[in-house]
Amino acid sequence: MDLLLTLLLRNLGRNPRRSALTVAAVAMPVVILVLSFTIVAQLNRFLDDSAAQLRLAVAHKTSIINPLPYGHKARIAALDPQKRDIIAVVGIAWIGGVLANDREPLTTMGVDADEFPIAFTDHLLTQQEREAWQRDRRALIVGRSTAAKMGWKVGDRVTIRASIPPYSEFSFNVISTAPKAIDPVANWCHLSYVFEERARSGLPESSVDLVSFLFVKCSGRAALERYRVEIDRLFENTPDETQTQDEKAFLNQFISQQFDLPTNLTLLALITIAVAVLAAANTMNMSFRDRIGEAATLRALGFSARFGAWLSLTESVLLCGIGGCVGVLAPVIAFGYTPIGDVQIPLIVRLEIGPGVCVVALTLALAIGTIAGAWPAIQGGRLRVIDALRSLE
């Protein structure tokens, strides 16, 4: 075993340039792997965390952007007057929003002020925040990544122009930057403020009391399943039929429709694995050919064919392992400890590379090494000692 180790290390150091290039050629695909998997994992975690909130999303059946009458809220709540299964129903009016002289669309939503803290327990964590929210009609909870991007902090006064009628300017007081919120982007304000603004601007009465969605907080999985069906049944054959989904399915339709990023990034990652395998196999093949004479000599000295095979395989795994470490560490350091980390990736907010992704990437790197080393190892096992020695110069 000692001999194996010694030979292994000597072999790695024998052609340092080749070893370094191989490490680099493997590291690059691993970087992509880490980045792609992190983006996908973050999207999935976002969906799973949302699903754990036990909320149903009720939207208009005709189209996700058709508004629902606010009256639907009371009718849904009346399904369970004791509030045993349905804990809270929150009306949500999407107003989008843009800042003056900025095209970047914001996600701002008006919500029922009383029910929001009950249904969205990841917001308004302190008593102080809750009081500020209830007290101030113009209170705004800003998503933490939006806050970071815009440089907003608690106590700021911000003016956002709604992207939908009446397009009026809302002036808000930032009361929280939602440090623990699952959704790091969305901003939340009082629904009553939105309704008032609509009425004030002279929108017809029928256009005032409208919400984009209703979110229904349930007490458990069983209730979730039951009301997913029952709510749609309640509004069947009315002018405003509903489509009720659990929150994960609801959010997923937005994420998967925006370029289907999870699928496409996974595909890209798989392709890069292929690149790494090919690059590493190339090196191992070259190294093996250079050392045919040695392999034969070892065999002639009485070492088993297995020993030679092990030597090739371990070298390959070691090289790719180092490449894997470099490929994992580079993005971890870049996104964790340098200004690159502040770069906003489109659709994702801030890359947080988790240990799980690192372990997966390292495992894959070792697997790449195994595959790449397999061919020379098999060749080494089959080596005909006499022929190999004869071919020596």
Partner: protein, 388 residues
């Protein structure tokens, strides 16, 4: 004096497996680059290239998209007086009031739901949007009939001529599809078009979403926009191409993200090529010394190795293009974060994209071969010859 290309070509076959693996590495990178680029450009072209340069799109002053814009009839009437508006055969200015709403349809591919834009237009709409070409029959004003864009028809279920599509606020009004239209690959092809009055009635809308004004010529854009933006009307005017260019910002971001990843991938390929070429140089030290002795210059040696790498890259590029061709013609759609409706696009592998891929492959090959070739040129002649 340069070495004959045949020399390089033969050398590729000396180390067959190594050449093959190197070709494969670059080919995979090339294929990924081509598919991703065509994906990105297809997406951008579907939106970004839309609009006529002499068309002025009018939205509510606060709106960011047609789907969330609202123009009251009394404001719409003022648009008829827009300076520079072209005049139609009936003597009326070419001002097309349009209602843009949505309906939920199912994708053919996986039955998932897609929010498709539905545009209500009058006859004047087809004079303003004169790139729209209808195959089959045009809808009749006053009838519940619709025509469907080519992209929408190929992506979504139940949108063939003769089908009935449910539209309206509660989707209770059935429209018969009587024709399919093309509009030079623009975003309109992802929409359903129907008579404006019928759509307004079905969706219970008493206002329009947008107005499109055809001007005499594109030079009058500024004056017309001033009128629309000004105190008389107080709406927001954008040239139609500019509006669609802004909508394609989102896809632009994805293109950048993806290109970033491909560049990392290509860097990995550079290292792989360098490795191969170093091996080639090391294996031919004596040969190189021999060539030098015969009178070939250092430059000729460098050139020879660069040409060899370029051959590998060129070969890889051909393989990569071939591997990416099955993706050509694939149709997908994406949900805009501004309009909240879907736009279909086609992945088209154009000669331009293939050229870009070739350039990238050659770059990878040449950068990878640069250091090894320099090393080859520095081969000390006497020592290399003596070793044998």
């Amino acid at each position: 004096m340069t070495l004959p290309l045949y020399y390089n070509w033969r050398n590729l076959f000396v180390r067959k497996l190594t050449t093959l693996l190197t070709v494969a590495v670059i080919a995979v990178v090339v294929a990924a680059l081509i598919v991703l680029l065509s994906f990105g450009t297809g997406m951008q072209r579907s939106v970004g290239g839309s609009g006529h340069p002499a068309n002025l799109l009018v939205l509510n002053a606060g709106a960011t998209a047609e789907s969330t814009s609202l123009i009251w009839p009394e404001d719409a009437r003022l648009l008829v007086q827009t300076p520079g508006a072209a005049v139609g055969p009936d003597g009326q200015p070419l001002v097309s009031l349009e209602v843009v709403v949505q309906t939920d349809v199912r994708r053919l591919r996986d039955s998932s739901s897609a929010n498709v834009a539905v545009r209500g237009v009058d006859d004047v709409g087809f004079l303003v949007h004169d790139q729209v070409q209808v195959r089959g029959r045009m809808f009749t004003q006053g009838a519940r009939e619709a025509i469907v864009g080519r992209a929408a028809q190929s992506l979504y279920r139940g949108l063939n001529v003769g089908d009935r599509v449910a539209l309206g606020r509660s989707r209770s009004h059935e429209y018969e599809i009587v024709g399919v239209f093309e509009s030079a690959g623009s975003a309109f092809e992802s929409e359903i078009w129907a008579p404006r009055t019928m759509i307004a009635d079905s969706y219970q809308r008493r206002f329009d979403s947008s107005a499109v004004i055809r001007l005499d010529n594109a030079d009058r854009m500024a004056a017309a926009a001033d009128y629309v933006n000004g105190p008389a009307v107080r709406l927001k005017a954008t040239s139609e191409p500019e509006y669609y260019r802004q909508l394609s910002d989102q896809s632009q971001q994805v293109v950048y993200l993806v290109l970033g990843l491909v560049i990392i991938m290509a860097t990995g390929a550079v290292f792989a090529v360098a490795n191969t070429m170093y091996a080639a140089v090391d294996g031919r030290r004596r040969e190189i010394a021999m060539l030098r002795t015969l009178g070939f210059s250092r430059l000729a040696i460098v050139a020879a190795f660069l040409v060899e790498a370029a051959m590998i890259a060129g070969l890889a590029c051909l393989v990569g293009i071939a591997a990416s061709l099955p993706f050509s013609g694939l149709r997908r759609d994406f949900l805009s974060n501004v309009t909240h409706s879907v736009t279909g696009f086609e992945i088209v592998i154009t000669p331009g994209i293939c050229l870009a891929a070739l350039a990238a492959a050659l770059l990878v090959g040449v950068i990878g071969a640069a250091a090894p070739s320099a090393r080859a040129a520095r081969t000390p002649i006497v020592r290399a010859l003596r070793r044998g």
